[in-house]
Symmetry: C2
Subunit: 202 residues, 2 copies
């Protein structure tokens, strides 16, 4: 691939394959919004020609799909881990919450993009369906934890599942790479879910 053929001042760096191109595209999608980003913008940001870009991806929607697949794949791999499959419902939920925050920290742009999807294209609707399927598995586990008597009386499973998902996903709004305390963040969020964000002393 010949790099930098057409780009002017906005060249970042020559890129060497589909992976870096995807990362650059996701950054542009998040900054400009998917609808407002053109293949022109993407090739300029990557510092390569449009035709080099098309060598790797058939177009904008293929990039979006690859990015959303990466985030969704992380979530479904997590659900298949032994820690998410074995043990009490509460133990499984804790494993999943910790894993979700780890994934979010490791794959922040991809997860951010996934959470911004609103269903305007076929790919976005597909991603929304996948998210709903993930959420449904969490909601079923929350209900199982309540039914097994592991959770304090009065907790409504559907509401708890929504608050759980809301708390976990809200981390993308403020977490930035290299923030102090990132290593402890997964366990800290799990504590907040099971003991409270502001648990009373004693």
């Amino acid at each position: 691939m010949t790099a930098n053929a057409e780009a002017g001042k906005r060249v970042r760096r020559p890129t060497g394959g589909a992976g870096p191109l995807l990362e650059i595209a996701v950054g542009e999608f998040i900054t400009r919004g998917y609808d407002a980003t053109s293949m022109e913008d993407l090739s300029r940001a990557a510092g390569i020609t449009k035709s080099s870009f098309y060598h790797h991806f058939t177009g904008k929607e293929a990039l979006l799909r690859a990015a959303l697949e990466r985030a969704l794949n992380g979530l479904f791999v997590l659900l298949a881990e032994p820690g998410a499959q074995e043990g009490t419902p509460t133990q499984r939920l804790r494993h999943i919450v910790v894993g979700q925050i780890r994934l979010l920290v490791a794959e922040l742009p991809y997860v951010t993009l996934l959470l911004r999807v609103r269903g305007n294209t076929e790919t976005e609707r597909w991603a929304l369906e996948q998210r709903r399927a993930f959420d449904a598995q969490i909601a079923a586990l929350v209900r199982a934890a309540v039914d097994a008597g592991e959770i304090r009386a009065g907790v409504e499973p559907a509401l708890a599942a929504r608050l759980l998902s809301g708390l976990v996903n809200s981390v993308v709004e403020w977490y930035r790479p290299g923030r102090p305390g990132a290593a402890e963040l997964p366990e800290d969020v799990a504590h907040a879910v099971f003991q409270g964000i502001l648990p009373a002393a004693s």
Copy 2:
């Protein structure tokens, strides 16, 4: 005001003042995005002429400002209530969390718009500053609760304040008017903050 002068099929209803126009504008901003919405779109949605619209608001940014002021005003009125000013830091925080969810339920479109602001215009930057000022007061109260020994050891105030704000604000993502359980929602969210979303039984 003469209504329906120019609008075609998309007429909703004749409107009788600034209040309904603001509500209609906020709905359009949320659906289309603020940047993508024109005064043309707004007058069509309201079923009035553009000049009637300009009689009430000088333009799009004035509408945005009025909408954001309404949401922010609700937040700062809440902070000034006796329940947010008197008692222990934890009691004050509980009062504020309950009040925030009540405000969100009562003023859902205005709060939703406020939470989507990204800082692209002067008005948006002003609203972001106001939100930061509100968040700083909450963070100070969280720190006061920790310093007073009211909160279990190990809770980091800055992180707890972020998670608190994330949990409360995530409710706009799924709450819809008329949802069953809306009356209990403020207390349910407060429980989740102080006891956990999934508190262990016994």
